[in-house]
Structure formats: C-alpha cells, structure tokens
C-alpha cells in the first residue's frame, strides 16, 4: 500500500492511511509497554504478583530506550512512570524518577550497547535493575517515613533481571517488524 521514497527530494504529502500507519508504528513502544503493565495486574492469583508490575515496566523502558529512543521520548517515560505510581500504589513521583533515570542511563550507554548485541544489554541491565529497585525502595522509605523491608526490593531486582530476556525476545521481534518506521 504505502509507496516509499528512499531518494531525497520533493515528496507528495502522506495520505491519511500512511500518516496513521506511521503514527501507530511510532506509538507502538509506549502503547505496548502500557499494555504489558496492565496485563501484569490481571488476577492470576499468583503470590507476589505485585512485584511483576515494576519489574516488567523497568525492563520495557530499558529495552525501548536502548533500541528505539525516538519512539520512547522522555515525556512518554514520564507518563508511564506516573501510571506505574498510580497502578503500583507507590508514592507519586517515585516511579517517574526511577524510570527517567533508567531512560537517561540507557541513552548514555546506547551508542556502545546497541552495537554489542543482546547479551551485553542484558548484562548491563542487571546493575541498572538493582539500582532502580534500591532507589525506589529508598524513596518509598523516605516519602512514607517508614522502614519498608528491603527484601522486596531485592526480589524486584532479581525478577526484573530474569524477566528481561523473556520480554526482550518478543519485543525485539516487534522492534524489527511492527515498530519499524519504514519496513524494508
């Protein structure tokens, strides 16, 4: 359907179909992250399910910030962070700050990591996930003025690092097919 113009020069205005197609592809990373977040809250009846939400969100943000930062701009990260705070019953701002910092780290490291392949991006994610979980824990303790058990933060970090490859495989496929601006 869409006629692609690879050569520079004057191009015709994109039709509504093309425009919608492009917008949908650009919005895919954020939309799919939100969808995965909502999915983790479904009543599966698994003990400790609540930890899934921050763990999975972190992995999504890391993946898209690393491999497709143009479609995961800081305002989108902010919005997803706010959703994480509201859905995950964190004090407002905790999820937002944590995710923005993870996004910032991903942008810093992406030049190097994006070329190194999947294994290294996972390896780099382990300390990032640990740092993010610890930061959330510290902020929650600070904002609620209560010493919350650190065990949950450790569990979140471990779960996040373990789930990253599980998530990254379908996401990488989506990255190459659906989210690609001009599939070739």
């Amino acid at each position: 359907m869409a006629v692609r113009h690879r050569n520079p020069g004057i191009r015709p205005h994109p039709t509504i179909g093309q425009w919608l197609d492009r917008a949908a592809r650009a919005a895919f990373p954020a939309t799919c992250s939100v969808f995965i977040m909502l999915l983790t809250l479904a009543p599966f009846g698994v003990a400790g399910q609540a930890v899934l939400l921050p763990a999975v969100t972190l992995a999504c943000i890391w993946f898209w910030s690393l491999f497709r930062p143009a479609a995961m701009p800081p305002p989108a990260v902010f919005g997803i962070g706010l959703l994480l705070d509201l859905l995950g019953y964190l004090p407002l701002g905790v999820g937002v700050l944590t995710l923005l910092l993870v996004h910032g780290f991903a942008l810093r490291l992406r030049r190097f990591l994006a070329q190194q392949g999947f294994a290294l991006s996972w390896l780099a994610f382990v300390p990032i996930a640990a740092g993010a979980a610890f930061l959330s824990w510290a902020l929650v303790a600070l904002l609620t003025l209560r010493l919350v058990p650190i065990g949950l933060a450790v569990f979140q970090a471990v779960l996040s690092a373990t789930l990253y490859p599980v998530l990254a495989i379908p996401l990488a496929w989506a990255h190459r097919s659906i989210a690609e601006a001009e599939p070739g």
């Binding site: 009543p43 609540a50 019953y89 004090p91 701002g93 937002v96």
Partner: protein
C-alpha cells in the same frame, strides 16, 4: 507542528530529560502535600480498570482452580484419610458446641442479655491486588450503586482480612491486616488481655503492647477487641505463633494470599478512621 531549526531541536531534546526529572521531584512534593489527589486519581483508574479485571477474573480463576485440582488429584487418598480423621474429631466437637450453645442461650435468657445487633453485609469479588510492592491491599468490585463506606470491615469465610480504606464508584480498596500501616486492637482469647496487632508486610502480623504479667501463649486464639470503637468484639483474627526469635506473631485465619470472595460488614462503627482516611482529617484539611 512548529518547525524548529535542527540545533534548536537538539537543544530542546537535551533539555527535556532534566526538566522532567525536576518535574518528578515536584510530583513527589505534590503527592506529599495533597494525598487526596493521588487517591482520587487511583480510584478513578481503578473504576475504569475494575470491570475489565472482573471479567478476566472468571476464566483466570477457572484455570487456576483447574491447576490446583490437578495437583490435588495426586494426593487424593492421603487427603481423604486426613479429612476422615478431622471429621471424626469435629463431630466430637460439634456435640460439645451444641451443648454449649444451648447452655449459653439458657444463661443469656436468665440474665436478660442484650443481644448484639446483627450487621448488614455485602459480598464482593476480589478483582486485583491493590497493594503494589510495599503495601498489602485488595481491590474489590462492588458494583455501581453500592453502600460500601470507608472504615467498614472485611472478612472472608474464616476471619478478619482488614478494613475498607478507599471507595470509588465501582471499586473499593481494603487494607489487609498484614499491611505495614495496619494497627488493630485485639484480645487474646484465654487471658482476655488486650494487645495491638501490627502489620509488617510479611505473612504474619506481630502482637505488641500486651499488659505486663501476661504472655501470649502459642496457639492462643486472637479476636478483635471493641476498644476504640473501630471493630466489634470477638471477630476471629488468628492464632499466636512465636517466631524463631521469640516474637509473638499471629497466623491469620483468613487466606490472605488467595482472597476471592469477601464480605464487607457494616457495624455502624466510626471510632477510628482507617489509616489512609486519617491523613484526610488532619487539622487544616477538610
């Protein structure tokens, strides 16, 4: 769309992240200053998502029970033997209980005992975990025209699970007795000593502040106390278990990790506002 020159656009894109990080700190301050704002946003979100999860709950519950049933098929025989033994034991108890019940009724009649008022209750389905990582709470689907109010008491078929802390138009949030912010006045059944049950976010809340000279006994039943007019007396809570370090903890009767159906009782009590509600009534706030 406004067209900007490439350097301007690059500068702007570099500036977005720091600005948003500052905004995140602003959001933290806002969340601290106005607790109602976050609560309202959460309940609005829950009201929107609640029906979706309620629809999902049934097929997912069916899958879950199918999985557990398959597991149970394995030890059907052992389970059967255990249940027979338990049945015998309970039959003996039933005769005792019936005799005691009749005696109790006779004694109450001769004392002109004023009976406790019966409480109204509604039954609701648990649709989601509403605690997040650092809290223990459950989200209930209560239907559009419900009469659920803050401070009402939630029980499952075995015992106390907690209190309603937030109410939306279709959903209600119940703070569980295991939550870090939960404080419940209780009575130890044999010694009749009062204590406070303090949530730790772990599976077993702790007992604190019992009077001097009394020691919580292992296996002793814990029931609610009517002190502070927040709970009616004698709702079953759990039994005392000492941790390895000798701290008395309470094993709840309620199956808090797999709540499905919950009853919400209206005892007409409003002595102590629920924890989240307490933040609302601080001076200087409406």
């Amino acid at each position: 769309m406004i067209r900007l020159s490439i350097p301007a656009r690059q500068a702007l894109s570099k500036l977005t992240l720091p600005v948003l990080v500052v905004a995140a700190f602003g959001l933290m301050l806002l969340g601290k200053a106005d607790t109602i704002l976050a609560e309202r946003a959460r309940m609005a979100l829950n009201d929107a998502l609640g029906p979706i999860y309620a629809v999902l709950a049934e097929p997912l519950g069916a899958i879950n029970s199918a999985v557990t049933e398959t597991g149970q098929l394995w030890n059907l025989r052992a389970e059967n033997v255990k249940l027979r033994e338990e049945n015998e034991y309970l039959r003996r108890w039933q005769t005792i209980a019936l005799a005691l019940d009749a005696e109790n009724a006779r004694l109450k009649a001769s004392l002109n005992w004023i009976p406790d008022p019966t409480a109204n209750f509604v039954t609701a389905r648990v649709v989601a975990d509403a605690g997040g990582v650092y809290a223990r709470a459950a989200l209930l689907a209560v239907g559009p025209n419900h009469a659920v109010r803050k401070g009402q008491i939630a029980l499952d078929e075995r015992g106390l699970i907690g209190r309603v802390t937030e109410v939306g138009s279709r959903t209600a949030r119940v703070l569980l007795i295991t939550d870090l912010n939960s404080r419940i006045p209780v009575t130890m059944e044999t010694s009749r000593a009062r204590a406070i049950l303090v949530g730790t976010n772990g599976p077993r809340p702790r007992l604190l502040y019992w009077p001097e000279g009394v020691q919580p006994q292992e296996g002793e039943r814990i029931v609610t106390s009517a002190e502070a007019n927040a709970f009616p007396a004698n709702l079953p809570v759990g039994t005392v278990r000492h941790s390895r370090s000798g701290v008395p903890e309470v094993e709840p009767f309620a199956m808090l990790t797999r709540l499905e159906i919950v009853r919400i009782f209206d005892y007409g009590l409003n002595g102590v506002a629920a924890p989240e509600a307490a933040a609302r009534t601080t001076p200087g706030r409406h």
